[in-house]
C-alpha cells in the first residue's frame, strides 16, 4: 500500500513537470537596439486581411502589409503600392499604376494580387464580415450577396502594373479606403498553398509592408522586424516592434513603470487622472460618436419633435464628456470633428454644431410637447445601455439630468454589448445609448445611417427631405455641392428633427514614452502606424 501511494505521488509530480515543460517557451524580453515594446490586449484571430474585423488585426496588418495608399499623420492617403493614379472625368473609374515593390519572398507585387484579394473578400463563401467596405466598387454588393458573378465586379488588373477600379458612384473617400485592411493585396499562390492555415503563423503568409512578422507566440507575444524588401525601407527607423499581450490594463501600467513597455494604448479611465498631467499621456480623438437613439416606431410620445428636442437640450454634455465618461469631448452634432467633408476640408469646419445645453428652453419645449400629446407628464421609460463601467456611469448621469432638469423618470437597463445590439436590432427598447464609429474618412459614413429603412437606423427616424439630400449627395460628382447637401441633411437630422441626441465624441487615451517620435495615430481603421516611428533611447 505504501509503495502504491508513493508511486501515485511520483506519477502526479512527473506529470506536472512534463506539463510544465511544454509550457515554458524561452523569449528574451527587454529592448535592444531600436525596438519598441508595445502593449496589446489580445491576440489577432489571424492575419488574413480578407476576413479581419478587429482592431488588433487591423493594426498589425497596417504594419506588415500595404495597400495602394497609406494614411499619413493627417489621415490623408499617400501613395504606397500605387505610384500614380488617374481618375476619369465622371469620377467613377480609377486607374492605378503600381510601383516596383516586392513581397517579402522577393516576388513583385502585381495588380492581380489586388484583384484577387478584393474578390476573395467579396466571394460569398469567404463569409467576410467586412466585405461591405468594398461596396463602393461596382457590383461588389451584388457579387457578395450572390446576385452577380466575380467577373462583373469593377476591379480588373489590366496588366501586372495597372489596376482599374470602377465605382458605383463618385466617392471622394475612395482613395483613402484603399489603405484599409480589406483592400490589401493577397497572393493567390500563398493563400491556396496554405488553405485554412493561411496567415495563422508567421511563415504561412508573405508581407509587403514596412515590417514582417518575425515570431508569434500565441496569446503571449508577437514580434515584428524591419522588412528588408520594403520599397521605402530608408524611411523605416525602427529595427523591430515587440507586441506583448497583456489583458489587464493595471498590469500593462506596471510593466510600463518598470520599462517593460514603451507604449500602452487605450488605458482605462481609472488611470487617466494619474497620468493626465504627465507628458506620457496622449489622447487621440476617434471618429466615434456616442448618442441617444429614440424608438419612434414604438413610442408615440417620442415621435413628438419638441419632446425629443427637450431631451437633446436637457443633458449637460460638457459634464458628461469631461467628468463622467472622461473619454471625449461634448458632441454638438452627429459627425465627429476628425472626418472629411469630401472636398478636402473637414466636415465640421463647414458646419459647426447645433446642440447646446439649455435647461430653461428644454423645460419649455417639454411642456409644449406634452401639451400637444395631451399628457400631463412624461411616461416613465427604460434607458438601455451597455454594462461597461463607462456606459453605466453615463446612464446614471443621464437619468439624473433628465430627472432634475426635466422631471423625466427613466429606469436604467444595463446589458452586455451583444444583448444591447440584439435589442436595438429587434426594436426592443425605448431610448438607447448607442455609438457609431467611422468606417471610412467621410461624413457619409455617419449620415447614411439615418436613411429611412437603413438597418442601423434603429429608432426608425424618417424624413423624406433628409433621404432625398443624402441620396443626391451619394451620386453627386460635384464634391462641393455634395458637401453642402450633407451639411444640410445633418442640420435637418440634428437641429430640426432632433432625430438623435448627440452626447460626446470619443477619444482613446494612450501612454507613450516622450522619447517616441513619429508614431502616428488614426481616428478610424488601424489605431497606429509605426512606419515613421523613432525611439531615442
Amino acid at each position: 500500500m505504501k509503495k502504491r501511494f508513493y508511486l501515485s505521488l511520483v506519477i502526479l509530480l512527473v506529470a506536472g513537470m512534463l506539463l510544465s515543460a511544454c509550457g515554458g517557451v524561452q523569449q528574451n524580453s527587454g529592448a535592444s537596439g531600436n525596438v519598441l515594446n508595445v502593449r496589446v490586449d489580445g491576440e489577432p484571430p489571424n492575419l488574413d486581411s480578407a476576413v479581419s474585423t478587429d482592431n488588433i488585426s487591423f493594426n498589425l496588418l497596417n504594419a506588415v502589409m500595404e495597400g495602394l495608399t497609406r494614411l499619413d499623420k493627417d489621415n490623408k492617403p499617400q501613395l504606397a503600392m500605387a505610384e500614380s493614379y488617374t481618375i476619369s472625368p465622371d469620377k467613377k473609374t480609377y486607374t492605378f499604376k503600381l510601383r516596383d515593390a516586392k513581397w517579402s519572398d522577393g516576388r513583385p507585387v502585381r495588380a492581380q494580387d489586388f484583384e484577387y484579394g478584393w474578390k476573395r473578400a467579396l466571394a460569398p463563401q469567404t463569409a467576410s464580415q467586412y466585405a461591405y467596405i468594398l461596396y463602393p466598387i461596382l457590383n461588389a454588393e451584388k457579387y457578395n450577396t450572390g446576385k452577380a458573378k466575380a467577373e462583373d465586379v469593377g476591379v480588373k488588373a489590366l496588366d501586372d502594373k495597372t489596376l482599374q477600379v470602377k465605382l458605383e458612384a463618385p466617392s471622394p473617400y475612395f482613395l483613402g479606403l484603399t489603405s484599409f485592411a480589406t483592400y490589401l493585396p493577397q497572393r493567390q499562390d500563398i493563400v491556396e498553398k496554405y488553405g485554412k492555415q493561411y496567415a495563422q503563423e508567421p511563415n504561412k503568409m508573405v508581407y509587403n509592408g514596412p515590417f514582417v512578422l518575425a515570431s508569434w507566440q500565441h496569446n503571449e507575444s508577437y514580434t515584428l522586424k524591419k522588412n528588408p524588401n520594403y520599397w521605402d525601407k530608408a524611411t523605416v527607423k525602427l529595427d523591430g516592434i515587440n507586441f506583448k499581450i497583456v489583458k489587464e490594463v493595471s498590469s500593462a501600467i506596471n510593466l510600463y513603470k518598470t520599462n517593460g513597455l514603451d507604449y500602452v494604448p487605450r488605458i482605462s479611465q481609472e488611470f487617466v487622472d494619474a497620468y493626465k498631467s504627465k507628458p506620457d499621456f496622449k489622447p487621440v480623438t476617434e471618429a466615434t460618436t456616442v448618442y441617444l437613439e429614440f424608438n419612434m416606431k414604438k413610442e408615440k410620445v417620442l415621435r413628438n419633435v419638441k419632446i425629443r428636442k427637450a431631451i437633446q437640450m436637457g443633458i449637460d454634455t460638457n459634464i458628461l464628456a469631461q467628468n463622467i465618461a472622461k473619454e471625449g469631448k461634448p458632441a454638438t452634432a452627429l459627425v465627429p470633428p476628425t472626418l472629411q467633408g469630401g472636398n478636402g476640408k473637414l466636415f465640421r469646419d463647414q458646419a459647426p454644431g447645433y446642440v447646446k445645453f439649455n435647461k430653461e428652453e428644454a423645460k419649455k419645449l417639454l411642456a409644449e410637447g406634452l401639451k400637444e400629446e395631451g399628457l400631463s407628464q412624461f411616461p416613465t421609460m427604460e434607458l438601455l445601455g451597455d454594462d461597461t463601467d463607462v456606459a453605466k456611469r453615463c446612464l446614471q448621469f443621464i437619468k439624473e439630468q433628465l430627472r432634475t432638469n426635466l422631471g423625466i423618470n427613466v429606469n436604467i437597463r444595463s446589458v452586455p454589448f451583444k444583448e444591447r445590439l440584439q435589442r436595438s436590432q429587434d426594436g426592443n427598447f425605448q431610448i438607447v445609448l448607442s455609438r457609431w464609429g467611422a468606417d471610412y474618412d467621410d461624413a457619409m459614413t455617419f449620415l447614411d445611417l439615418f436613411l429611412t429603412g437603413n438597418a442601423f437606423n434603429r429608432g426608425g427616424y424618417s424624413n423624406p427631405k433628409y433621404d432625398d439630400l443624402i441620396k443626391k449627395a451619394k451620386m453627386n460628382p460635384d464634391f462641393n455641392q455634395r458637401l453642402q447637401q450633407m451639411v444640410e441633411a445633418e442640420k435637418i437630422l440634428i437641429q430640426d428633427d432632433a432625430g438623435i441626441a448627440p452626447l460626446y465624441w470619443r477619444q482613446r487615451q494612450n501612454l507613450e514614452r516622450p522619447n517616441i517620435k513619429g508614431l502616428v495615430h488614426h481616428p478610424f481603421g488601424p489605431d497606429d502606424d509605426f512606419k515613421w516611428a523613432t525611439l531615442n533611447k
Binding site: 500500500m1 501511494f5 507575444s221 506583448k244 451583444k418 438597418a455
Partner: protein
C-alpha cells in the same frame, strides 16, 4: 474492482453527455450571434454568413451535427479566431495554465504541510497562532488581491520579479504563489487537525513506548496517517486551481486558457465554448474518479465495491 470501474465509466459518460446537452442549448439562448462585426454588418449579409456557418438550421439539427462531429473527435472551428481549430486553441492555452496551477499546488503542499505539522506539534505556541492567521488570510483574502499586491510591491517597487508577462521561470513565481494561498491555508488546517487527532491515538503511545525516535514517530506514524484526508482534497483542489486561475492569468498576462473560456462566452463563440466546457468537464470527472480509486488504495477501510476482493 473491474466491474466497479466499468460502472463508473458509464456514469461518467452519461454525466458528460448531460453537461454537453445543457451547455449546448443554454449557450444558444444567449443574445446575439457569434459574428464579430455584428454591430455594423448589413442584415442580408449576416443571413448569408449564418448560413455559411450552418447556424441557420434548427437547433436540434445543429445539436445532432455537433454530437456527430464530437464522436469523431472534431470539436469544430472557432468563430472568433477565424476558423482555427478549437482543439488547437485549447492545447495552446492549457500548458501555461497547467504549469502555474501545478506549481501552485506544489508550493501549497510543501508550505501547507510544513506549517500544519509544526502547528500541531507546537500547539498553542506562536507558531501555531501564526499558522492560524496565515490560514485565515489564505482562505479569506481573494487570490486576485494577493496577486495585485505581489505584482505591485515585488514587481514594481522592489523590482525583484517581472510584474507581468510570460516566458521565463521568473514569470511563473508570483502567479503560482498567489494561487497557492488557498492550498496553503486548506492544507495546513487539514494537516494540523489530523495530526492532533493521530497524535492522541493509542498507537502513538505504543510507538513512543517502543523507544522510537521523535522524527520517526512524527513522520512515519503520525504524518502518514494524517495525510489521508489531505490527499482526498488534493484532487478537486488541483482541478480548482488549474481551471480557476482566470483572474490570476489576467493580472499576470499568462497565455493560459481561462481567457479563452471567458472570451468565448462573451462573443458567442459556440464551438470554443463547447470545446472548453468539454475539456474542463472531462478533467474534473476523471480526476474525481481517480481520487475515488486512490481512496481505496491509500485507505483500505474505504474500499468501495471491492468487498469481495
Amino acid at each position: 474492482m473491474g466491474r466497479y470501474i466499468l460502472q463508473r465509466s458509464i456514469y461518467m459518460l452519461v454525466t458528460l453527455w448531460v453537461i454537453i446537452t445543457f451547455t449546448f442549448f443554454l449557450m444558444h439562448f444567449m443574445p446575439g450571434s457569434p459574428l464579430q462585426n455584428e454591430e455594423r454588418i448589413p442584415p442580408q449579409m449576416k443571413a448569408l454568413i449564418m448560413k455559411e456557418y450552418g447556424l441557420d438550421q434548427p437547433l436540434p439539427v445543429q445539436y445532432v451535427h455537433f454530437l456527430g462531429n464530437l464522436l469523431q473527435g472534431d470539436l469544430g472551428k472557432s468563430f472568433q479566431y477565424n476558423g482555427r481549430d478549437v482543439t488547437e486553441l485549447i492545447f495552446q492555452g492549457f500548458p501555461a495554465s497547467a504549469q502555474v496551477g501545478i506549481q501552485a499546488v506544489i508550493f501549497g503542499i510543501v508550505i501547507g504541510l510544513t506549517l500544519g505539522v509544526i502547528a500541531a506539534l507546537r500547539r498553542g505556541s506562536w507558531v501555531d497562532n501564526l499558522a492560524t492567521v496565515i490560514a485565515v488570510l489564505g482562505v479569506s483574502v481573494p487570490s486576485f488581491l494577493l496577486a495585485g499586491l505581489l505584482s505591485f510591491y515585488v514587481g514594481v517597487k522592489l523590482l525583484l520579479l517581472p510584474p507581468a508577462g510570460w516566458g521565463t521561470w521568473q514569470h511563473t513565481i508570483m502567479p503560482s504563489l498567489a494561487l497557492s494561498a488557498l492550498v496553503i491555508a486548506q492544507m495546513s488546517r487539514y494537516i494540523r487537525t489530523e495530526m492532533l487527532e493521530v497524535l492522541g491515538q493509542d498507537y502513538m503511545k505504543t510507538a513512543k513506548a517502543k523507544g522510537l525516535s521523535r522524527p520517526t514517530v512524527v513522520f512515519r506514524h503520525a504524518l502518514r496517517n494524517a495525510l489521508i484526508p489531505a490527499v482526498t482534497i488534493l484532487g478537486p483542489l488541483t482541478i480548482n486551481i488549474i481551471t480557476g486561475s482566470l483572474v490570476i492569468e489576467q493580472i499576470f498576462g499568462i497565455p493560459g486558457m481561462a481567457w479563452l473560456f471567458v472570451q468565448s462566452i462573451q462573443v458567442n463563440d459556440y464551438p470554443a465554448i463547447m470545446g472548453v466546457t468539454i475539456f474542463y468537464s472531462v478533467l474534473i470527472i476523471v480526476s474525481i474518479f481517480v481520487v475515488d480509486i486512490l481512496y481505496g488504495i491509500i485507505d483500505p477501510r474505504i474500499r468501495i465495491a471491492g468487498a469481495k476482493e
